[in-house]
Symmetry: C2
Subunit: 414 residues, 2 copies
Amino acid sequence: MKRNIVVGQSGGPTAVINASIAGVYAEAKRLGYKKVYGMIHGIEGFLQDKLVDLDRYLSDPLDIELLKRTPSAFLGSCRYKMPKIEEHPEVYQKVIDIMEEHEIDTLFYAGGNDSMDTVKMLSDYAKQTGRTQTFMGIPKTIDNDLPITDHCPGYGSAAKYIASSIKEIIRDNESFGAVKPTVVVVEIMGRHAGWLTAAAALAKGIDCTGCDAIYLPERVFDVDAFVEKVKELAKTRHSIVIAVSEGIMTADGKFVCEAGDAVLPVDAFGHKQLGGTASNLCRIIAKETGLKTRPIEFSTLQRAGSHLASLTDVDEAFCAGGVAVRAAADGRTAMMPVLVRANDEPYINWIDLHDIHDIANVEKKVPDEFITEDGCGITDAYLRYARPLIMGELNPMFVDGLPRHIVMKELMSN
Amino acid sequence: MKRNIVVGQSGGPTAVINASIAGVYAEAKRLGYKKVYGMIHGIEGFLQDKLVDLDRYLSDPLDIELLKRTPSAFLGSCRYKMPKIEEHPEVYQKVIDIMEEHEIDTLFYAGGNDSMDTVKMLSDYAKQTGRTQTFMGIPKTIDNDLPITDHCPGYGSAAKYIASSIKEIIRDNESFGAVKPTVVVVEIMGRHAGWLTAAAALAKGIDCTGCDAIYLPERVFDVDAFVEKVKELAKTRHSIVIAVSEGIMTADGKFVCEAGDAVLPVDAFGHKQLGGTASNLCRIIAKETGLKTRPIEFSTLQRAGSHLASLTDVDEAFCAGGVAVRAAADGRTAMMPVLVRANDEPYINWIDLHDIHDIANVEKKVPDEFITEDGCGITDAYLRYARPLIMGELNPMFVDGLPRHIVMKELMSN
């Protein structure tokens, strides 16, 4: 007889990570699990026994639909780094103890690279100590940098938000055109992998000239070449829009946003909080060319823009949650659902399962065939890859003129 | 027999200024005008005889619908300051000459304060010199700072974008909550009037705690009091989200974004291009409180976000264009359609006409009754005023996963 499960969310939120929670809940209930617990603030809250019975929030199907349309982590997120097993086995034992106490058979964890590492280590500990509890990862990251899977839930919606917003920015900038030539530099998230920035290329179409240049962190950023590129563009174009990744680095290994006296804050994993790349580049352009400039940062809007979510992405996130539950019910552990693509157009894909050990801590960068030879453009091969991921819309439920979300009282009172 | 008209757009674009052009075109055609010309880049382009016959773009009703859903100035905009009549009458004469040459009876100009000044001076010149040509303004500004009219087309959509995005930012920030307390400072447009920033207050609701503080340029900004406010908030809340106008000034009359060594660029009207207020405040908070911070600027996204337009706003913008045409056909000149409100809820309003001389160069600030006594909040009276303006949605026409726009080749090739 089926007992209980627990699901948690970790790392930077996305527009559709909640759809995965909805998928976990719906499939678990269908399969006859007794309780579906949610961890409040991921494994960090779980270690403090902060659990919520999701029946309290999701028993009405309307709430499931609202959850699919609510951005960010409904359960709360964290950036908690698990210690090494051999150094602090008691942390792992505590997770097992809390699971036993609540009769939880499986722990599901939705997140990116760091979160999959947590799942890997928990399952390793359980195996080493002969425990029966199982652990499943659920892919989630706007960064799209998990390996094995064709793409990650969360990426399609972020890409749709970025491409739509870039179109609106280009529309705005070209309205002045010749009477006020302006260079707009748009800064997009992505520390080491340029997937999100590449999405700016999707803006190009019959009604839009698209970005004039796109710089990913996969290529060394050369400030002089950048200035030359802008000068060259300015000879023929009045409205210039350039997309850059927050993670671009110069040859000396420094982030462009670290130029000058900037000191970037650092998180629990030692990752620097980036920002200011567009501003720095605008200052350089203004100084070197005299052109009018405008820096724009999408900031957290690009990962929270559920009002512009991709229906394809929402559905895949939902199904990834469901598949993880089904696999756990079948006795699998230490796995993550991966998206497999058979064809670009028509888009034909399915969901498979893969060993978490091949996934944790591996970062998938944008491959060479998606970047043009001059290093500041995106190829058609990328467009064929990305286009299916932004297809379809899931309209928000508007109440009083604004998208309605579903929220946990526990988080709002924070 | 009816001859021709011309319509132009000026100043910062909005999500619905094109709906006014659609309204002008549709009503003019219905009334039997022969040609509806568009000025390319407003009066600046008109003075260079840059006109386009709008039949080329708008004869299919589908194109009218696309135009309603296309942000920014379809015809191109400008920030051209007309000289004083007595100093350069030849500029005014040139406008009249070009109108005569193209058999244009009426010139329609959609814009804000500066643009209404252009309409006023053109109609003054025509009157002084005994011309028969007529001139009509059409209100357009996200800033909502035109007098007489209850509100301005463009404001409702910007307010809807701001409130929706603030909700998503709050959702994102509270997902970390206690495990990573962060102060987010969101910078919103509005040089002297805080209407747009006030819209951040609309985010509050049953599913959202709303902003923790909102600072408008109508009040002197006190940095010390601001830091104290943040410290006070941090005692009870982990996720803090504060909205500030880009135009807030300290008691010495300096913009907060001018602090330090910032030198702001200046436009043709002598207005400084603001930006960096949120970053400056985040630096101050980090230094004075040690709290983690994140600055966010909506930048041009807030005026170009037609994918999240308010249907009420689109309809009013469309009708304002139509009413201006009807009034001109009736022989009126030097007028602007104004929105008149009878009731908040149910929202009952109509469109009247008002003398442009009472409107040009007058800036309507946020009244005292919309600002709380402590100077960092918004009252319920404002919410009753603003709520009707963000009601309803006009979904984009999505093609290949992105909103489709209608564009003039003349602007794209810029």
